[in-house]
């Protein structure tokens, strides 16, 4: 169930009214006071969105500045302006510090489209000499304009403002650099210490990229809101921060490009014959990064294997001759590698193998001999997934015979029994499934207030007085 959140306005038109009070005429102080009064009242109702709280503090200073007698202290005005601007910038930037490590305020502000000099002003007002009144007035004006374009207008008229954000930078150069470094250290272990700082810094760069991507996700998935769960990753997708998921998915996409996890040259895609593993050298190369990512993002491997699945099971596999079977089988081997790494990690309580098997089975439809390359890889993966797990093996065997014996036969009553048997085989591979209990109503209870006592001045309403159930905050007229 999707939960709403409380907002101070009954309808968005109330926000629109405040917006027009503030912005219609810059010199109309009376309507600005109306806006201040309304926003102060809203603040007492519930938490205000940060943009509104900032607008309130800025408005209060602006109005104070415009009406103040010349004799009074300018220092207090400068302080009020400074506080309003510091809090505006901090409040906008802080929620976007999404990674483990602090990003510079300037870089986040850049992504937000916040004027860089406001960030400088924030720094000056906090740590340096208090800025001049002239500069602060200009900053307040510019902040109000920024709020109009970035909060009020998009909130009042959703999706009218074109996306003008800085695009997400490509991860490819970073991965390339990582590969180069690791090749050096893998080939000559004595260089490990020498290159350690460089490798660390690349890994930090990947982390930084994830943080940036999360901010970008903030922008791009806005319309998805709370339900940004369109991806095909198995598991309890509800529980994960959609922004982190989005960022990690983009990261995985970059890793799945040819030249990353899968070597560019087909010659290098030599698979170990004895087990279903990716090329040995690739494993040596990428294991450190993958482990590092898994350490910081506990769902990384699940997401990576999920992305691989979706590539393998893609319906629109290229038919124009560009299909690359060794690429597919390399990916399939990486998927199994992910699952093995996941299972090595004993703290993971989630059966990724089973989950992915189910996903794969569903996307393959049925297990039969297939022609397409990606299907072949997927089928191979499916077999190695189930190998060693008796339950899954049994399930797979059942399904396999089904799709092999495809021809239509006459309906026999015994078929029912066979179907039952098959069903039981499949069911036994899962743990006890829970039958959801229907909601049972609590024992009947009297409806309406319990009392016969009457209280002067307190009239208990009911149907007879014209009262009807209505949402909280709606006043129902009574007789």
């Amino acid at each position: 169930m999707q939960l709403p959140r409380r907002v101070p306005w009954a309808a968005i038109s109330e926000l629109e009214q405040i917006c027009s009070w503030i912005y219609t005429d810059e010199n109309d102080l009376d309507s600005k006071r109306l806006a201040i009064n309304r926003l102060s009242a809203w603040r007492a109702i519930t938490y205000l969105p940060h943009a509104l709280e900032s607008a309130l503090s800025l408005l209060v200073v602006i109005v104070q500045d415009s009406t103040q007698a010349a004799s009074s202290s300018h220092l207090s005005l400068r302080q009020s302006y400074s506080t309003a601007i510091i809090r505006l910038v901090n409040g906008l930037v802080d929620p976007l510090q999404l990674g483990a490590y602090a990003r510079s305020i300037a870089s986040i502000a850049h992504q937000l489209g916040l004027p860089p000099w406001l960030v400088e002003l924030r720094h000056a007002a906090t740590h340096e000499d208090m800025p001049s009144i002239e500069l602060l007035r200009e900053a307040a004006r510019e902040s109000m304009v920024w709020l109009l374009h970035n909060y009020f207008l998009p909130t009042i008229n959703p999706s009218t403002v074109p996306e003008t954000r800085a695009p997400l930078r490509s991860l490819e150069p970073v991965l390339k650099q990582y590969k180069t470094l690791l090749k050096i250290t893998t080939r000559d272990a004595s260089l490990k210490t020498q290159y350690k700082p460089a490798i660390l810094s690349v890994m930090k760069d990947v982390e930084r990229w994830i943080a940036e991507a999360r901010v970008a996700a903030n922008m791009t998935t806005r319309q998805l809101g709370w339900e940004a769960n369109t991806s095909e990753i198995p598991g309890d997708s509800e529980a994960m921060d959609p922004k982190e998921r989005w960022a990690l998915e983009r990261l995985c996409d970059a890793l799945l490009e040819k030249g990353a996890l899968v070597p560019l040259s087909r010659k290098k895609r030599e698979f170990p014959a004895d087990n279903f593993s990716p090329p040995t050298f690739s494993v040596l190369l990428w294991t450190p990064l993958l482990h590092h990512l898994q350490d910081l993002h506990s769902d990384f491997l699940a997401i990576l294997s999920g992305r691989i699945m979706s590539v393998l099971a893609a319906e629109n596999a290229p038919t124009d001759g560009t299909s690359d079977p060794s690429y597919d089988s390399c990916l399939a081997r990486w998927a199994l590698w992910c699952i093995r790494a996941w299972e090595e990690d004993e703290s993971q309580m989630f059966d990724l193998r089973k989950e992915l098997t189910v996903t794969l089975l569903q996307s393959l439809g049925h297990v039969g001999p297939t022609s397409r390359g990606s299907r072949k890889a997927a089928t191979a993966l499916l077999e190695s997934l189930c190998a060693g797990n008796p339950q899954l093996e049994a399930a797979l065997a059942t399904l396999k015979t089904l799709s092999n014996a495809g021809s239509l036969t006459e309906w026999n009553p015994e078929d029912m029994i066979i179907m039952d048997q098959r069903l039981n085989t499949l069911l036994s591979s899962s743990a006890t499934s829970r039958s959801s209990k229907p909601w049972t109503d609590s024992p009947a209870e009297p409806i309406g207030a319990p009392t016969s006592e009457t209280l002067p001045g307190w009239r208990l309403l009911g149907e007879s007085s014209g009262w009807r159930p209505c949402p909280i905050g709606v006043h129902c007229a009574t007789i």
Binding site: Q2, P4, R6, I45, L296, E344, L427
Partner: protein, 756 residues
């Protein structure tokens, strides 16, 4: 239900904490930073309803009829290593639906001015260090589940079903005539029950929730949801018996006189389960979870109660640490009224200990007074008030299961005293005076067969968990005012960011402080271990549930008996068939029935009279009664102000009524305020006799949880009282566009470059 991801993350955090890297191939992986455990955002969102979830997860074929999943519906084995789960809580004032709350951590290396200093008043915001330090159990090992019930029911041997007539013959203090089950518990035999039930000890004594309960005709109500530690009944001996023990059926006579405790269990129907339907985080907490339903459990022939044989992943038994038991057994045994002061950090078990202490004192005293100073998670009232209660029945259940009308209370209106510390102290001072004058030494009303002390009422004081900075000062001041005879201090985990509080808070301690210190006996207690329960349910969830429980509670069924001067007015039933939006309210003319409307909380001074109706619409207010003549109102000014406030008697910037001369009866929800007149529609569970005197409204920072604004009758949550969801006022589904459209959030765990 705990999401799989949450458990995984927590478990992984645990793994990293012990830096178990042996499983890895030796690679140049940089060691994960030490604080990794804390940087995982804890997914705050829980599945709000278990029933809707599986449908969402996977499109699978279903077989008609039995409806198990066709293929494996792999339920992630969430709690396999439950013992190893590190609980990382984040309790900002955010309900579970807020997804992206970054995990705050206890700070280290906070040097940049752009990172806020750990404001000590954010008592709910940081992770206690003990969480990381104390859970270093070996990992990867799956322990066999702990056995919770060694009792194995065998009909006609140790389990007997009684018909209503046989129950009536025993003359138990329970007016419900329903069938009962008698269980015979041998010494040290345990029985763990989930659900709601009442029990009476017919013969011998048992321990329940850490308290030894001797045989008596009293029956005790127990609420044991999965969201709290489950109490375990344990047989002690068979020494005493109730006077009517011979009325038991013949089959039981062989057990009479044997060293076996006989416990009568009965069904308890209160409607409390309905709260789970309202506050979906707690959906089905009185029923066994999926983990338990997979384990067959013996049937006790009582509905609403389920025997729990062994520990499963999402429950925790009620466990009394050794130091607690020691402290409880060494409580001052003076005949006089003793004052017990419980303090310690949040989530260390203060409230649980205080409740256990009350129960333990109730075995020696007829009544015990309880002063709640924890505004965030109050025992008897919804949060936001300092409340003094007088308790005569032991409390077996979490706070939401016993909402009680206070003897005296003062509405602070916030979950911490951060914005009004002096008002908070004045409120406690007033409550303490009330205790000393009215309660400590009650008029003796001897009850015939009660051997417990009746001429003195001890006091238990529970304090807030804010034990640093200003919070520590406040707690010391309260201790100073209370002059306790016993101090129970739950050890605070070591936090390098906050050096140990100076042992003498004042350069020259006042005489009273010295005196109280010299008299008081101090008991040091271990904190309880954080459990899976605190991962599943945050403090904000519990607060929301307590508030919902209060508004749905029915206090009218417990009218005060005329002989009892200090009655315990606990709600015994909940009316949960209708959501709040559909419950008929009272209509009140605010200009006539209320003398004053006060707004408290930072920033409320700026609310002008013309806007006050808007602020009150949908607000939760404290209903305060002032002693006649003490409300100092400037009549002329009030009239002018209320004229512009549409008749609502509001004075901008007025202070809340003085605690010395007022008391808060309870809370009300102003479900709507008329835009054109001073008519307000009010929902309150308070009985009418209390409403007449409540002529002052105080609105604080407390808000109605979003659960209270929804309509659970609409299955999909698409409608509220017939209004489709896009048109429901004051609620917004989905996230708005625009930058800065969210609440400000604070992170305290950012790492700087070079910390990697």
């Amino acid at each position: 239900m705990l999401s799989a991801i949450a458990a995984r993350k927590a478990a992984q955090a645990a793994r990293q904490d012990v830096t178990n890297h042996a499983l890895r191939p030796p690679t140049p992986t940089p060691p994960p930073p030490e604080t990794t455990a804390a940087i995982k955002p804890t997914p705050k969102r829980k599945s709000s309803s278990q029933s809707t979830k599986p449908a969402k997860r996977k499109k699978e074929k279903r077989t008609p009829g039995k409806a198990p999943r066709y293929f494996t519906e792999p339920e992630p084995d969430t709690f396999q290593e439950q013992d190893d789960v590190i609980v990382i809580e984040s309790d900002e004032e955010v309900l579970s639906e807020d997804v992206e709350t970054p995990e705050p951590t206890a700070g280290r290396g906070r040097w940049s001015p752009s990172v806020p200093l750990n404001d000590s008043s954010d008592e709910e915001d940081d992770v206690p260090f003990s969480v990381l330090a104390s859970t270093k159990s070996p990992l990867g090992k799956v322990e066999s589940p702990d056995v919770l019930s060694t009792f194995l029911p065998v009909p006609s041997q140790n389990t007997f079903i009684l018909n209503p007539e046989a129950v009536a013959a025993l003359h138990i203090d329970d007016d419900t005539r329903s069938k009962a089950t008698i269980v015979a518990l041998k010494p040290e035999e345990t029985l763990c029950l989930l659900g709601t039930y009442t029990f009476s000890v017919l013969q011998g004594s048992i321990t329940h929730s850490g308290v030894t309960i001797p045989s008596s005709p009293r029956s005790h109500r127990v609420f044991a949801p999965r969201s709290s530690p489950l109490p375990v009944l344990e047989g002690v001996d068979g020494v005493s018996a109730i006077s009517n023990i011979r009325q038991l059926p013949e089959a039981l006579h062989s057990l009479i006189g044997s060293p076996i405790a006989l416990v009568l269990l009965q069904e308890l129907r209160t409607g409390v389960e309905g709260l789970g339907r309202i506050c979906r985080t707690f959906d089905g907490v009185f029923e066994p979870s999926r983990w338990q339903s997979s384990v067959a459990s013996p049937d006790l022939q009582l509905s609403g109660v389920q025997m729990v044989t062994s520990q499963t992943r999402d429950i925790r038994p009620f466990d009394v640490p050794v130091s607690w038991a020691r402290a409880l057994s060494s409580v001052s045994t003076a005949e006089a009224a003793t004052v017990h002061f419980v303090k310690g950090p949040k989530k260390s078990g203060k409230s649980t200990f205080a409740r256990t202490l009350v129960n333990s004192l109730l075995t020696r005293y007829q009544k015990v007074a309880y002063l709640e100073c924890d505004l965030g998670q109050s025992e008897f009232t919804p949060g936001g008030m300092v409340a003094l209660n007088v308790i005569s029945n032991p409390l077996f259940g979490p706070p939401f299961a016993h909402p009680t009308l206070p003897h005296r209370a003062h509405y602070i209106g916030a979950t911490t005293p951060r914005s009004s510390p002096s008002h908070y102290l004045a409120a406690i001072q007033s409550a303490l005076e009330t205790y000393r004058l009215d309660i400590q030494t009650p008029a003796i009303s001897p009850q015939d067969d009660d051997e417990r002390i009746s001429d003195a009422i001890p006091l238990v004081i529970n304090t807030m968990g804010w034990y640093k900075g200003l919070g520590a000062d406040l707690t010391l001041k309260i201790q100073d005012m209370a002059c306790p005879t016993d101090i129970y201090e739950i050890e605070a985990p070591f936090d390098p960011a906050w050096p140990a509080a100076p042992t003498t808070p004042f350069p020259t301690p006042p005489a009273a402080y010295l005196a109280s210190e010299s008299q008081a006996r101090t008991h040091t207690l271990q904190p309880i271990q954080p459990s899976v329960l605190s991962t599943n349910y945050s403090a904000a969830d519990h607060r929301a549930l307590a508030l919902m429980s209060y508004f749905y509670a029915d206090f009218s069924t417990s009218p005060p008996s005329p002989v009892d001067e200090l009655p315990q007015l606990t709600a015994t039933t909940w009316r949960t068939s209708l959501p709040l939006v559909a419950q008929p309210p009272y209509e009140v003319d605010a200009s006539r029935m209320f003398d004053n409307v006060v707004l408290t909380g930072a920033g409320t001074e700026d609310v002008v009279p013309t806007e006050v109706g808007r602020v009150l619409n949908g607000a939760i207010v404290g209903l305060v009664a002032c002693e006649p003549g003490t409300l100092d109102l400037d009549m002329d000014a009030t009239e002018t102000a209320s004229a512009s406030a549409g008749g609502i008697p509001y004075m901008q910037g007025a202070a809340p009524p003085s605690p010395a001369t007022s008391t808060c009866h309870g809370l009300a929800l102003l479900r709507s305020v008329s835009p054109t007149s001073a008519q307000v529609h009010v929902l309150t569970p308070l009985p009418p006799r209390l409403l007449a005197t409540a002529r002052v409204l105080v609105k604080g920072e407390l808000e109605l949880p979003v659960w209270g604004m929804l309509d659970f009758r609409s299955e999909s949550g698409e409608e509220v009282a017939g209004v489709e969801r896009g048109r429901v006022p004051y609620l917004q589904w989905g996230k708005g566009e625009g930058v800065g459209g969210e609440r400000r959030r604070v992170r305290r765990n950012l790492m700087r470059k070079g910390q990697m």
